[in-house]
Amino acid sequence: MTEAEITEKVIALVTPYVKNRKALSNITPDTTFLADLGINSARLVDIVLAFEDEFGIEVSDDAADSIATVGDAVALIGKLVP
């Protein structure tokens, strides 16, 4: 799977949780889930579960805690995807 494909799927998966809808239109790897997209921090748990289901991976708690930006998520998923 290419980085672009992963990025596209990540954005689709987080979109329902995004409170700051305007930020959706110019997402970069540096876009943060909490500050930029306005996602409720409690929902990161649900987003990680969604990544696991979509990509068929398992994300450890430590790895999940390291995800702050869209780029972090894409890189982590890229490493874990079989």
């Binding site: 329902p16 949780y17 995004v18 409170k19 409690a42 748990v45 649900d46 579960l49």
Partner: protein, 428 residues
């Protein structure tokens, strides 16, 4: 009222309703006037071998939910929370308060008492228990607690509207909704807060209804004729029809309402909640008549009115064996002959028994009747119960015009708990 300074008049300045027979005030009023039943056959109840296979469930909620709520909100809301949110937003807008927006300032002058009888059973039954039993706790995600906590319904309303006053959920079985309105009334009356959204909400989960079905208190004789299934006061009543929905009222101090030029529907002039102690004929599931009588009389006393000033009654009247007892308790409480009981009707004949939401939905019905000057007919009681026959002249069977000033509404619940509230027409 010992210790409480009583100084503030309390009025109703907003209403929100999501009922099995109508969403919104116009639809609900029209349904009440027209004797429109919201009771339908429920496939899932038949599949699960319920004796009662009919229920009252608000219609079109999926569409409403997407119109009223953001996608991220909906990811963490069960049906009860969605019902509460729709009625809460409607109530707020109806009261003419500021625009609802994610960045709206906190309204420190408004609180909420949004009650529920059973709580987030849909979430517990469909997600939490199956996942936990499979050892998949980690897969529950982050949204379980906020959906199964008893206060889910009030918390969601509070967050959507940015309420800064006390925001809580009460629970007292089938008295819940009425108790919430009475408690809110007393908070405002004693000057603790200017406004409160109050009433009740109940989801439509078959898990919630299962225990009642097992108790054999649900109507099981009309599965093929849902609209005739809810039969309060009828000789052929065979139990109540489970219902669901949300009914909320904006209660406000008269000073606050007048200060902002709000439209006033009615005044709350008295209310009382008590318990019969599960003695003297009362039990976990049946009321002590003495408790009911004391509750009604205390509400009238607080309102400062005599029983002769009660112009109509919106009863609890569920269509169980208890209906004849309720009529007799009213007669005793008001100290009148059966023939002289004020007109009485049963909103449950059209919406079923919405449990924790019942009092809220019925208080909204009561205020609409006062404001729009009508009494709705109770459907399905052409064949009055023999013990209610002496009250025939008082039972409102057909919708009619109403020019009275005062309607008393009562609710009774498991635990032998009672609530009674007195609404007075606001002169237009």
């Amino acid at each position: 009222m010992a210790g409480d300074a009583i100084s503030h008049r309390v009025v109703v300045t907003g209403l929100g309703v999501l009922a099995p027979n109508g969403h919104g005030l116009e639809a609900y009023e029209a349904a009440l006037r027209g004797g429109v039943s919201g009771i339908r056959f429920i496939e899932k109840l038949a599949e699960r071998n319920f004796a009662c296979q009919v229920g009252g469930v608000p219609q079109g909620v999926d569409e409403l939910a997407h119109a009223y709520l953001a996608p991220d909100d909906l990811l963490a809301m069960n049906d009860a929370m969605i019902y509460a949110a729709i009625a809460g937003i409607d109530c707020w807008r109806d009261a003419g308060l500021r625009e609802i927006a994610p960045d709206a300032p906190v309204d420190w002058d408004t609180g909420a008492i949004v009650g529920t009888g059973i709580g987030g059973m849909q979430t517990i039954g469909e997600r939490l228990i199956p996942m936990v039993d499979k050892g998949r706790v980690r897969r529950l995600g982050s949204t379980m607690v906020e959906q199964v906590m008893c206060s889910a319904v009030s918390a969601k309303v509070g967050g959507l509207l940015a309420l800064g006053g006390q925001t809580t959920t009460n629970s007292s079985a089938c008295t819940t909704g009425t108790e919430a309105v009475i408690d809110a009334f007393h908070r405002i009356r004693t000057g603790r807060i200017a406004r409160m959204i109050a009433g009740g909400v109940e989801g439509a989960s078959h898990y919630t209804w299962s225990g009642f079905d097992a108790m054999k208190v649900l109507a099981s004789q009309s599965n093929d004729a849902p609209e005739r299934a809810s039969r309060p006061m009828s000789a052929s009543a065979s139990g109540f029809v489970p219902g669901s929905g949300a009914g909320l009222l904006m209660l406000e101090s008269l000073a606050s309402a007048e200060g902002r030029g709000a439209r006033i529907y009615a005044e709350v002039i008295g209310g009382h909640v008590n318990s019969g102690g599960q003695r003297e004929g009362g039990s976990m599931t049946a009321p002590n008549p003495a408790g009911v009588v004391r509750c009604v009389r205390a509400a009238l006393a607080e309102a400062g009115i005599e029983s002769g000033e009660v112009d109509a009654i919106n009863g609890h009247l569920t269509a169980t064996f208890a209906d004849p007892h309720e009529l007799e308790n009213w007669r005793h409480a008001l100290d009148v002959d059966a023939r002289r009981l004020p007109p009485i009707n049963a909103t449950k004949s059209m919406i079923g028994h919405a449990l924790g939401a019942a009092g809220g939905l019925e208080c909204v019905a009561t205020v609409l009747q006062l404001h729009h000057e009508f009494l709705h007919g109770s459907i399905n009681c052409e064949d009055l119960h023999p013990k209610i026959e002496p009250f025939r002249a008082s039972v409102v069977q057909r919708t009619r015009a109403f020019t009275g000033r005062t309607i008393v509404k009562s609710s009774f619940g498991f635990g032998d708990v009672n609530g009674c509230i007195v609404f007075r027409k606001w002169p237009s």
